[in-house]
């Protein structure tokens, strides 16, 4: 374990140069190959190199491109269509095809406000959406590249960052998270949040997965108290550390997690200091 960590750290320090990851000419955009592909908003690219080196050190072949190069090479149609055409090219001509696609940059319906790597919007499905919304965005569309189904063919994720500093901060968190040897109690702690109408669904997760595995389960259920109490308890849960947060509540506005009461607000993020105990949040929504 320690040797593995040393290897990663040495590779991070002395790994490939930045130029080896970044695609800078049209031909390399059309004909290439990798395991891990990054499509980044141009101004954020420099902050992503440490992540390239981390993934490289773990055995993945990494390539990165700025979105502007994609727009230059695929020069017709909306920006989303151009990225999609690039992904079709990647899927059909790159060897090897990437297993992962990472989009670096937030998307926003208002193109004048933080729409760094856009997302294609589609008409809503048949069930009701919160706030009577009539459409949704889906990164999934960029990676449904084979057959007539909706099944993704590449594993896609997005860093929803809005600045160079934000990108640098999140990339540093990822590197810290993966290279830390910390196996403290928090890695076996799950925070479970539930609105009253969904408490039985949260209980199902608890009795099926968390308790049989012997995890410590920190529950924040709406029935436990007032909104201010619930928000305080949720903040405390984050700060004491959890490896997973299962959010079995409603979303809403202002951004937060709700039942009839409020369990967490976006503004509560300012009170989180769980520096090296960062959870993955699974939103049940």
């Amino acid at each position: 374990m320690k040797l593995g960590l040393c290897f990663i750290l040495i590779t991070l320090a002395f790994g490939l140069g930045q130029a080896d990851y970044l695609i800078t000419n049209p031909d390399s955009l059309l004909n290439n190959g990798c395991d891990y592909l990054i499509v980044s908003y141009d101004s954020f690219t420099d902050a992503v190199y440490p992540l390239c080196q981390l993934r490289d050190s773990l055995g993945l072949e990494v390539r990165m491109t700025n979105v502007s190069l994609i727009y230059t090479v695929f020069d017709s149609g909306p920006r989303t269509d151009r990225i999609r055409k690039f992904m079709e090219r990647v899927y059909n001509y790159w060897n090897p095809r990437p297993e992962y696609l990472l989009l670096v940059g937030d998307a926003c319906k208002d193109t004048t406000l933080g729409d760094y790597v856009p997302v294609r919007r589609f008409p809503k499905f048949s069930y009701s959406y919160y706030g009577d919304l009539q459409e949704h965005g889906a990164d999934n569309w960029y990676v449904t590249l084979e057959g007539n189904d909706s099944t993704p063919d590449i594993i896609v994720g997005r860093l929803p960052v809005n600045s160079f500093a934000g990108t640098e901060s999140l990339v540093n968190k990822i590197i810290r998270y993966e290279t830390s040897a910390d196996t403290g109690l928090w890695t076996r702690t799950v925070m479970l949040l539930a609105s009253t109408d969904r408490a039985s669904m949260a209980d199902e997760f608890d009795t099926t997965f968390f308790r049989p595995a012997g995890d410590s389960v920190y529950k924040v259920y709406e029935s436990q108290g007032s909104s201010s109490y619930l928000r305080q308890k949720t903040r405390a849960g984050f700060n004491q550390g959890a490896v997973l947060v299962a959010q079995v509540t409603h979303g809403g506005q202002p951004p937060g997690w709700y039942g009839s009461r409020t369990l967490f607000l976006y503004s509560d993020v300012d009170s989180l200091y769980n520096l090296n105990k960062l959870p993955v949040v699974l939103g049940r929504g």
Partner: protein
Amino acid sequence: MERGSGGTIAGAAPNPCGQADGNQLLVKEILKNIYWRNERVLGKAVFAAKCSLMVWYPTNDWYYGSAYVYTLFGDPALRIKYPINTSVEEGKIDIPPESFNQLPTIVRGALYLSSVSGSLSVLFDITGQKVMSLHPGANDIRHLAPGVYFINKQGDKFFQRIVLVD
């Protein structure tokens, strides 16, 4: 996520919303992948869960729609820090009975997978024990004993029957 002193490392959620039953099933599948199948790569756990719902409910958008809008905010290759569960019998699954009735593909020496999905495929023996992970291209299986095996793409219900011969 951008907050340097804390917050989260990644999140996954319907964007903007899924249907209640579809969401429940989706998150259950993600948790199954983490807890029961020891999947530690976040993107793979989410990917396989999404594929499962889309394959199981291809015409019911309460389920495949929830999977379609489910978005991973974070690095898809992130390795979750949850410890490997050693009580899980690594890779042991139940092969669906109908899989035994298929006409088998005869294989000798190497097993070729053409699609990128091959990187998420696993070879099982006739008892449902995981034998090896597969990758796109040629997979050397000369070390395996002749017999019946099954290929399964993670998250897919379909098991392809093969017969390995000398």
